[in-house]
Point group: C2
Chain length 139, copies 2
């Protein structure tokens, strides 16, 4: 039986997942990529190298992040957050977000964090300012 | 080091994954949901209960399916197929697709397959007719 999750259940799933799938619209096509993320209040923070997805989101700020926990086809939860893409350029917030991402994802090498601190980084840090969330589960 | 995958590597990843994330555009917003799927040649077959995603895809046929194998943040592969949504209404093809889905996903209960055979099913069977694929990997 598939049923909607409460807002609390949905928030909990979004907070518990580490990898999500970022959805955006690129040249009128949907585009989906896996990303590591953290949530802070109503913002989702993600970092990325510049490329198709950052180009797409700069052109169309409407994005979503989908996260799930799938045990099998009949025992799963899936949540989605919709929101607006905002690039994080203020150095204090950018540094804070990178530190949070690095502490949650220890596999991220120091190499990725160093350029952030010297202001030379090509890494794009952005947040999704959440407009709404919803979730469904089965079982 | 992130690098593009060859078409063969990309096809292999799409064929090997069982769960993907379907991306579509719903009321000008990207929308992403996890789905079980099978690939046959240039078609991806999926079944779904009617709902937001089927409504969205009936309005905007441009969809994508993203699939990945993520070991950690620095050892992963991700593939994406772009294509057109086509509902499968011909009973022979619908039956064949459901049988393939059921044989690949034994957790799908017989309950889901029975209505397909008596013509009363509300389950939507659709294919994505693939226009193009691409993939990237790290490590």
């Amino acid at each position: 039986m598939i049923r909607p999750m409460s807002l609390d259940e949905t928030r909990a799933l979004l907070a518990e997942c580490r990898i999500g799938r970022l959805g955006c619209v690129s040249d009128d096509w949907p585009y989906v990529v896996p990303v590591s993320y953290i949530i802070d209040g109503d913002n989702i923070y993600i970092h990325s190298l510049p490329g198709r997805k950052t180009r797409a989101m700069r052109e169309n700020e409407r994005v979503c992040l989908q996260a799930d926990d799938i045990k099998d086809e009949f025992d799963w939860r899936s949540a989605i957050a919709f929101g607006r893409y905002e690039e994080v350029t203020e150095m204090g917030e950018r540094d804070w977000a990178m530190r949070r991402l690095l502490s949650r994802f220890p596999h991220l090498t120091p190499v990725e964090s160093v350029p952030v601190h010297d202001g030379q980084s090509s890494v794009v840090v952005f947040r999704i300012r959440i407009d709404g969330i919803s979730g469904v589960r089965e079982k």
